[in-house]
Amino acid sequence: MGSVAISLKNFKVSNQGFTLEIPTLELNKGKSIAICGANGSGKTTLLLALAGFVSFEGTYRLLERDFRELKRDELARLTAYLPQESRLSLGFDVFYTVLTGRYPLTRGRGYRKEDELATNRLLKRLDLLKFKDRSFLNLSGGEKKRVLLARTLNKEAPIVLLDEPFSELDLFYKMEFLKIFEEFKRSQGTTFVCVIHEVELALSYFDLVLYLQNGKVKILKPPHLIEEKELSCVNSIKVKLFKIRNYEPFAFYLPVPDKKFDSA
């Protein structure tokens, strides 16, 4: 097995007059990429296409195999996908909700002892063990998101696709999950593709940052090479970027009001 997790060439998705184009993208195993951009810039479309929900033109290779040749059940084992608005309409207990993430690993033969052990381990690591028996529907928005994230990670898929995983989490759990992503990257070589609005997290904790604008690639580079100017440009607001010496890669940014805004 080679080391390339995702490779795109002349990748194009057309959907109701909207076109997303990515000339070339290569992501190695055990790395993470943050997909950023304004609302409607094509982030979710890209993730949907990578997960196989939207058809595409061009070349898409997943773990060095042609994506079009993958069968649905193979794909379900190789990728884990968390949609932006994931829902569960029945009040399963948290343990079972997370356990169902391992369904593709059982090949339809029912959950095994090892699935239960792995789920318990993960719940413990994620500090969710105390919720184990609570009904999913009685959890708060943030707690639900943590459970669904746990469910997604529980599959132990080599490629994890997450659509705004942090949107409902408090700062503590954002950092906690980033730490856990790092552990998965190191121990299992998991590759993360994350749509994310938190620019400071994208710049500090991801190996690669992709900025989309109207379906076009504006920035695609490691975060430490991104400059204040291009960041301001893609965000359509003036941005001040701070880098802390000896603490690389760590950056945070401040939106700076325009003059017009200032004088008003």
Partner: protein, 320 residues
């Protein structure tokens, strides 16, 4: 779950023997006269077995519709599947194909469900409230068609009316056998699908990326729901709301996963219907029988109202 199953099995046994013992003619199982033996073997036992089988079928059908349509208010009755099956059965009666009642009921309920599903889904997503509206429209349409048929076909009206009243009084061992055969085959198949069935209560993207072929599974479950509904309607007429009440109570008892609710639903549905049938036999002191469908619909209608009023509480168990 083992505790609940055992308890339900006990309830089932008690109601079964109670129902065999009580009725228009009281029998003592241990001291039978030849006449009592005849009543027991050729009337009462087939009747109680049919009631048990139909109760279990309707409850499992209700559970399946609730999973597919993601709505706690869905069952054979509210989705219109029952009334369509009834229309099919009446058509079979009118054209003189009495032995074709079951196939006709099945085809009509499948067609009805297809209509409901098409009307209430947008891009494969089912909109719960539209399901109920479409179900109401379909039920109304079917009842109107049945009335029209009754009006036009004056000759066969007695058999239609008699059949429409519903109930288990004409149960035969053949019907018992067919109902239980279908029930066992469906439940066995479901037992292989339990984890996948649970996963369709996630949104479609999550379910599909979990490796479940959501669209195919929904179709398969709809088919089983229609099959169970059709066999029940063909042999006992339209008996409403059982598939709604029993699963709801089971969910309140924290039996939520498919494996729990289907197995417990079979026993609970069987017991519920045996008791409803027993009540319909003994409630009127004059010795006449109350149609069992009237009984369940009265209880069920009240319960349905209660559900609508208590929506906030039911959100705990199922997000509407």
């Amino acid at each position: 779950m083992k505790k609940q199953l055992l308890l339900l099995f006990f309830v089932f046994l008690v109601s079964f023997f109670l129902a065999i013992d009580k009725g228009a003619v009281s029998v003592n199982i241990f001291h039978l006269t030849p006449l009592q033996r005849d009543i027991l073997l050729s009337v009462r036992i087939p009747r109680v077995i049919l009631a048990a089988g139909v109760g279990a079928c309707l409850v499992v059908a209700g559970i399946l519709f609730q999973y597919v349509l993601q709505n706690p208010l869905a069952d054979s009755f509210t989705t219109g599947a029952s009334s369509c099956a009834a229309l099919g059965a009446v058509v079979a009666l009118v054209i003189g194909l009495r032995f074709m009642i079951f196939p006709f009921a099945l085809i009509f309920s499948l067609l009805g469900l297809l209509v409901v599903y098409k009307i209430s889904s947008v891009k494969g997503k089912v909109i719960p409230i539209t399901v109920l509206l479409a179900g109401i429209v379909l039920s109304t349409f079917s009842s109107a068609s049945i009335s029209l048929i009754k009006f036009v076909a004056q000759d066969s009206i007695t058999s239609i009316v008699f059949w429409l009243m519903g109930g288990f009084q004409n149960a035969t061992p053949f019907q018992d056998l067919l109902v239980f055969l279908i029930l066992f085959v469906v439940v066995f198949r479901l037992s292989q699908l339990f984890p996948a069935i649970d996963i369709i209560s996630f949104d479609d993207f999550t379910a599909i990326s979990s490796g479940v072929d959501v669209y195919r599974l929904r179709k398969e479950l709809m088919f089983y729901g229609a099959l169970l509904t059709a066999v029940s309607v063909a042999f006992s007429g339209v008996i409403g709301f059982v598939g709604l009440i029993v699963p709801h109570i089971l969910r309140l008892l924290k039996l939520i996963k498919a494996r729990q609710i289907v197995f417990c639903g079979v026993l609970a549905g069987a017991s519920f219907m045996i008791i409803a049938d027993l009540l319909s036999r003994v409630l009127l002191s004059s010795g006449e029988e109350l149609p069992v469908g009237v009984l369940t619909s009265t209880i069920g209608g009240g319960f349905f109202l209660y559900l609508l009023i208590q929506r906030k509480k039911s959100i705990d168990q199922w997000e509407v």
